[in-house]
Symmetry: C2
Subunit: 311 residues, 2 copies
């Protein structure tokens, strides 16, 4: 079975890692959000791409989920000493990725080519594709401070400003990166990983051509990023609330209504299953919390079994 | 006594450090070669400025003379893993300097302002000035490979290509950085540190306005970078040879004939003293090898005493 996964950062990366443990590498493609990409220290930083790649390569920091394991912080501490910008925490190993990527972009390479080359160097066998090679910038519209670039909202302001909406600047002019539409067209199923609907998956789905391709796929399954009204990590639940929607697995399913054929919700939300099924989706209740590598493997296997038996 | 020192990298930095131990900070200005500056990993790197500053701040690697003490190499090793450029060895702490400088240049700051700000952060009290804020690029003309950028010749090719001459690209359009001409004009003496005449001091002296200002100074003293026909470090002796000149303290003195009033040669070259005096220079023979911090202090004191008693 050929699977395309759509993923943002930490939660998404974990499920992708689980799927990579279960599927043949040729049968798994992950399309990653690049709306959070930004420039810092003059370098192009792609937080979600890096989190997905580090996780797949076994290089991710197991405590935080993002950044590198065995990380050191010499550069950051010296930049602080020079009174440079130190609000965004770049570790030494992680920094090398940004430097090398920025160099190659300056040399005219596409983000997708660079990502592919990094995956080879890191021993990643599955196909990891940025949603687009072109610049798309997620803007968080806030009540107090107007438009904020995503990393400013997320890291600098710790998600404190109240959200009014989102904008993916430049998305209307962007094209899916090479291989994205082909992978979706050839896929037996598209899996929405447990990533933030507003700022991780919506940007991917907003790249012209991707949503129509996804809709043509026989099976489109989502794993809820919201459990018992909250998120494991990140501001998704807070965003639903501030937009006037009660955060829940049902709200997530409704967000994607018309696109999803399958929905996987957590055992803690079993009572929502009937309402979600009422949206015309096949539902499965399972443990969706991934604390260990084994949890990732098990959730991925659950998702694939569910898809296969209801195909 | 107000002193202006002209310096390149390691040897020059050591004497400047000695002078800084002896003089009041207000009485010492160092003008540093920027002809070796280049771009690598997308960053502006100023090897001589950094060596001088790290040395003055007590941050320099005591083994190599360049780079940082307590250095780590995580970024470089990760860049190697990604098959990036790893021939130029940038340590993690050192890298922070280049990142922050590049950021500030991109933000419109001048190299001299940035250097001043870094000196404050590092606790350097004397005035450290780049020779110019504008781009000047030292080109080594070689027999085998034509024109080579300095770092390519020096680090990548390990000074192996035979030298035919030098070019300081852009120097004719450059201006001394703010404060350079004022410092020379106010100085009682200009001291040429034991740096490479061809690629460290000549670039400084080629910036329009600097040589005329130096020539107006009452005392212009040079400390030989060549001892017993060889250099402690770097390719100066090899360059003299390849240009058909026997490398010696005399050759250095002759190189600067018409500009120098004072010349300090090493005890090992005592036999050259009469020939150098014959060029119309006051001479002093002393130990010019600086192995310890104490040696730097002693040589600086010797030079200042020599200047004062012959002024």
């Amino acid at each position: 079975m050929k699977i395309v996964a759509l993923a943002g950062g930490v939660g998404g990366a974990k499920l992708v890692d689980g799927l990579a443990q279960v599927l043949h590498p040729k049968d798994l493609t992950v399309i990653v959000n690049t709306g959070d990409d930004f420039h810092h220290w003059g370098l192009k930083i792609c937080p979600d791409l890096d989190t997905v790649c580090y996780t797949l390569a076994g290089l991710a920091n197991p405590e935080t989920g993002w950044g590198r394991r065995d990380e050191t912080w010499k550069v950051l501490s010296e930049i602080s000493q020079l009174k440079g910008e130190d609000w965004f925490k770049i570790g030494d190993r992680d920094l090398a990725t940004h430097i090398e990527r920025t160099e190659r972009i300056a040399a005219g390479k596409r983000l997708s080519e660079i990502t592919n080359s990094f995956c080879q160097a890191w021993g990643i066998a599955i196909s990891v594709l940025p949603m687009t090679d072109e610049p798309v910038t997620t803007i968080v519209k806030t009540q107090e401070q107007g438009d904020l670039a995503f990393q400013d909202y997320f890291v600098h302001q710790l998600c404190e400003p109240k959200v009014k909406g989102f904008k993916f600047a430049g998305v209307e002019f962007s094209r899916p990166s090479p291989g994205v539409l082909e992978a979706i067209t050839e896929a037996d199923a598209v899996v929405f990983c447990p990533s933030n609907p507003w700022v991780s998956l919506d940007p991917i789905l907003s790249v012209p051509g991707i949503t129509p391709a996804v809709k043509k796929t026989k099976i489109v399954a989502a794993v809820t990023p919201i459990i018992a009204g909250a998120t494991i990590k990140g501001p998704a639940a807070k965003m639903f609330l501030e937009l006037g929607i009660e955060p829940s697995a049902f709200a997530v399913a409704q967000h994607y209504e018309g696109m999803l054929t399958h929905f996987i919700l957590d055992a803690l939300d079993q009572d929502l299953e009937i309402r979600i099924a009422g949206l015309g989706m096949n539902t499965m209740v399972t443990n969706t919390v991934m604390k260990s590598t084994d949890d990732r493997h098990k959730l991925a296997a659950d998702v694939l079994n569910f898809i296969q038996r209801t195909a």
